[in-house]
Symmetry: C3
Subunit: 181 residues, 3 copies
Amino acid sequence: MDVIYLLDLFGTFVFAISGIRMASRTDMDIFGASVVGFVTAIGGGTVRDLLLDSHPITWMADMNYPIVILAAVPFTFLMGKKLNNYSKTLFLFDTIGIALFTIIGMEKALSFGLNPFMAGMMGMISAVVGGITRDVLCREVPLIFRKEIYATACLAGAVVFYLGIEIDLPDNLNYLLTTGV
Amino acid sequence: MDVIYLLDLFGTFVFAISGIRMASRTDMDIFGASVVGFVTAIGGGTVRDLLLDSHPITWMADMNYPIVILAAVPFTFLMGKKLNNYSKTLFLFDTIGIALFTIIGMEKALSFGLNPFMAGMMGMISAVVGGITRDVLCREVPLIFRKEIYATACLAGAVVFYLGIEIDLPDNLNYLLTTGV
Amino acid sequence: MDVIYLLDLFGTFVFAISGIRMASRTDMDIFGASVVGFVTAIGGGTVRDLLLDSHPITWMADMNYPIVILAAVPFTFLMGKKLNNYSKTLFLFDTIGIALFTIIGMEKALSFGLNPFMAGMMGMISAVVGGITRDVLCREVPLIFRKEIYATACLAGAVVFYLGIEIDLPDNLNYLLTTGV
């Protein structure tokens, strides 16, 4: 449980960085970049919660989410070009974030009584809406629509997680395994 | 009732095709095209349900919607360029879909106690949000903003439907008439 | 109370004009421009209400909002190029609208029991989502991401309003002061 929560905050941090970075490559100012970072980080979970009619929206009831996102702003600008040297690491983190958000979204949807297919849809929505909104705001063709690796990470996460439930793996082990994939 | 439901599924199928087709003209992969098809098909109804606070969202409670949309993916790719020969038919279907979604949206809004003007707005939202989102994702200027025929189909649908109610037409006849317009 | 309501309607009118004007500079027709005006005017409040789970959505329960927006359509087209001579006035009104929507959003969020930081977020969302959506639909890089004046108006509004509450200013005075800033 605690591990998942920390991973969720970590995913939020990573997504915020990816939003801020893409925005600062356009002619947006620091305020614009922060907004894009914010939307990237919370977009997916927000849409998922609205669709599930789950209130309050996760990040609105827990200050840790905004704090983590606000922390990503100075972090990204201070690291600046150094982050480019870690682009493979960032890409890896991004993929982990996507797999993670998929799983968390699925679990939440299952707890709301949705069937596994719909839960998979909710997981995918949690994982990709933030990035799609980031790309629309920065006027890029959404990355997830072009890089199959993302979609694959997302689907693989969903399938492994579901199989994990079926064969009754202990929950935490299941989470780690799935994120590992 | 059953006729309306089948027409709704048919409209969903047609909208999904229009999303998949537009997406595959950009550099999106098949996954991206499927997402665009999905959003095109369910976008309007989802926003309508969220605004009306109507839960569960229609497509989340009925597997037939996702099934119809998933079926549209191989259908569109297998038909491929053949579909271009039917562009007038597709355009006709699209217009029918818009009129139909307008009516279904209006009826739902009226059943939620909205006044006729607001119900007309909800009908329009049901009909156009999917297509607008499709165009934004594909980075086109939204078609509905340029082709008055669409807007006209939509408004005509609304007005005829409302008049139909006023003069107490039997519901199913009213549906058919309105879609005919 | 009445003053705030009138200011809210005025802000809605101003936002609708800004949407219609930007849309008519693209190749959209009058229907498209009206839709963009509508979304610009009600986008922020709608997202705020959805996030707060506040139903009915403000503009859906009060015909004055749609009426004011519909009135903005002929107003903008009749004034036409004359409006260009008033671009400073329009910019001023826009900024007032943003400060005003921020305050109204904050107050609503506080009345829903959110903490001041989250209320500030809701205020900002009320103020900027409409304009961002307008810019996305018109395929512009969102203005608020480039012009710090907007963000500043918005933040200043929030801070002054919050301080005003803290030192127990009479509510109406507080509103006027904040909008003045």
